[in-house]
């Protein structure tokens, strides 16, 4: 089994999604089903093929390194779950 409950716990932690202990087995079954189906890509001969990152068949544009926007902290903070003056507030990180 590619994705055992220990691996699920590890990727859940990397994803910052809390997963209850009793969800590990069912998740493992589901995700392994999907990954098993994806394994069909191993049939394809990809030797010498350059990976394609996106559909945009164009060169990325450069732009001037200047500030073009900003200066409205109230707009930025309008949806904040918690704030302190002009800052986003979070639980204490450093003791």
């Amino acid at each position: 089994m590619a994705l055992d409950p220990t691996t699920i716990r590890r990727i859940a932690n990397l994803s910052r999604i809390r997963v209850e202990h009793d969800q590990l087995e069912p998740l493992s079954r589901e995700l392994n089903g999907i990954l098993g189906w994806i394994e069909q890509l191993n049939e394809v001969n990809v030797a010498g093929v350059e990976p394609l990152t996106g559909g945009a068949q164009m060169a990325m544009k450069m732009r001037d390194d200047v500030v073009t926007d900003g200066g409205y902290p109230e707009k930025i903070l309008a949806n904040a779950p918690d704030r302190n003056r002009q800052f986003f507030a979070v639980p204490k990180v450093v003791e």
């Binding site: 990727i11 995700l31 990954l35 394809v44 394609l52 559909g55 945009a56 639980p91 204490k92």
Partner: protein
């Protein structure tokens, strides 16, 4: 009835002052209020704002300032950020998010005079093919099975609310987004025209991101011409989107009148799959005959990597989603679920805010990008994606467009295909290739199955050649003469 008009007809009526923009918008709002409790097509209805915009449209018409969409009431997929109007992505995590800015696509529509009726339902973060993953409940397809009137059918997804609203005549057109088929599949299920333009044609700025290299904004409409009007307004070059195409937007309405005489139309043999209903195969053959009769040359072609498209998509899309959705951390906007420490707050917020399918895709995406698995999964998928693009490029050296079915089935009922995620994923079998390659594609309603449900045909074109796709779509529309109506619609 005003709600039965096409956008082109409504434009003429507004110009001739046969009716006012306020009357047109009110007719649609009345339809929304009557039908939305049942259909659940809209998550948010913006009555007051719509009436204000309609009033402004009447004033503009009075002073002779008539733009391409002046006074036309539209529905906006709730994935486009709209300034001052809640934008949820159909997720609990954005349940109370009110954007302080307007997406480029909706800003273009507003600048052209459009009226926004509200924000339409979708699969959560556009992840799904049935609208069943929405945190705001499923959407009912306005079409019914002739032999089973009690069955509640899905409108398809992810843009299910947009499709249901336009089909039920409670919006004249709508915006959608298409990452693996999310405009074309619901268009096919609801008897509509669904347009996925070339990658980069419509700006992604201000559209809640799912998989950035695959996300394509585009319109829903009831006619090919209306689709052309809407795409013409939505498309633009946008410096705020680094993948936005810096090229002029063609006259898509003119392209609809070109005809298909002399065009070479490819029929890809790999789209003939086991288990596909005979009715869909028959409709495809009918479409081929229509185009041949109209003067097109039909060419048998091969896209050998077609069968690997979905598996490629289910690595690339979750990988990009796991990165894009990292921003929902409970700090700057959206839901927060407190925890003892910052890391607990992240974990609690994301467990409570994301639904099962979104969590599943974030986990898959994180896995295929993680150390030790990146080469085996993500890099390999990117290489297969390159081969899929190569297939399209080779075929388009020889033909002008491709004709295929849009979906391997008609609309199914709520609850069907729900037990196994892969069964749901197979909905996008014929549509996903155009997303991986970035090429334009349109689904056009072409006929009904034996249950009286609409079926679509898909036209796929060369990169940035939406014009030929519109020309072929218009010919299919003309030949099909599709006039069937859904059982649930405004004024019934």
């Amino acid at each position: 009835m005003l709600t039965d008009l096409t956008i082109a007809q409504a434009q003429a009526g507004l110009k001739a002052k046969t009716f006012s923009a306020v009357e047109l918008t009110q007719a649609h709002l009345t339809g929304v209020d009557a039908l939305n409790p049942r259909l659940n097509a809209f998550i948010t209805v913006s009555h007051a704002k719509a009436r204000d915009q309609a009033k402004a449209a009447d004033e503009a018409i009075a002073r002779g300032d008539i733009r391409p969409l002046t006074g036309i009431p539209l529905a906006i997929k709730d994935l486009f950020c709209t300034e001052g109007i809640r934008t949820t992505a159909a997720s609990r995590i954005l349940e109370s998010f009110i954007p302080p800015y307007e997406s480029t696509v909706t800003a273009n529509l507003l600048n052209d005079g459009a009226v926004f009726l509200g924000k339409t339902n979708l699969d959560e973060f556009a992840m799904g093919s049935s609208n069943m993953t929405s945190a705001f409940g499923p959407v009912e397809n306005p079409w019914k099975r002739r032999q089973d009137q009690n069955a509640v059918l899905v409108p398809g997804g992810s843009s299910g609310g947009s499709a249901a609203a336009v089909a039920a005549r409670i919006a004249m057109g709508a915006t959608g987004t298409d990452t693996g088929g999310s405009i074309r599949q619901p268009a096919s299920f609801c008897g509509l025209v669904g347009v996925k333009p070339s990658y980069g044609r419509c700006s992604r700025w201000g559209v809640v991101a799912f998989a950035s290299s695959l996300d394509h904004p585009g319109p829903f409409a009831r006619t090919v011409q209306d689709g052309a009007i809407l795409l013409g307004s939505m498309a633009s070059h946008d410096p705020k989107d680094s993948t936005s195409a810096d090229r002029p937007v063609p006259d898509y309405q003119a392209a609809c009148k070109r005809g298909v005489k002399g065009l070479r139309i490819g029929v890809p043999r790999e789209y003939r799959v086991d288990g596909m209903p005979a009715e869909i195969e028959a409709l495809w053959q009918q479409g081929i005959a229509w185009l041949r009769d109209a003067g097109a040359e039909i060419v048998d072609v091969s896209l050998p990597h077609t069968k690997y498209g979905l598996a490629t998509y289910y690595i690339v899309a979750p990988a990009e989603a796991s990165s894009n959705l990292a921003r929902y951390d409970g700090v700057r906007f959206g839901l927060r679920k407190d925890g003892a420490e910052l890391s607990d707050m992240y974990g609690n917020t994301r467990a409570a805010g994301f639904g099962a399918e979104v969590r599943r895709r974030i986990l898959i995406g994180t896995y295929v990008l993680s150390a030790g698995y990146y080469d085996a999964y993500y890099l390999r998928a990117q290489k297969v994606r390159a081969l899929i693009l190569r297939d399209f490029n080779e075929v388009f050296a020889n033909v002008d467009a491709l004709l295929t079915p849009t979906t391997p089935s008609a609309a199914f009922a709520q609850g069907e295909k729900m037990d196994d995620p892969i069964q749901m994923y197979l909905n996008d079998l014929f549509t996903v290739g155009a997303n991986l390659a970035g090429v334009p594609a349109i689904s056009v309603p072409a006929g009904l199955d034996s249950n009286g449900l609409p079926l679509g045909l898909q036209i796929i074109g060369k990169n940035f050649d939406e014009e030929t796709v519109f020309a072929v779509s218009a010919e299919i529309e003309r030949a099909a003469g599709f006039t069937a109506l859904p059982q649930i619609r405004a004024g019934m």
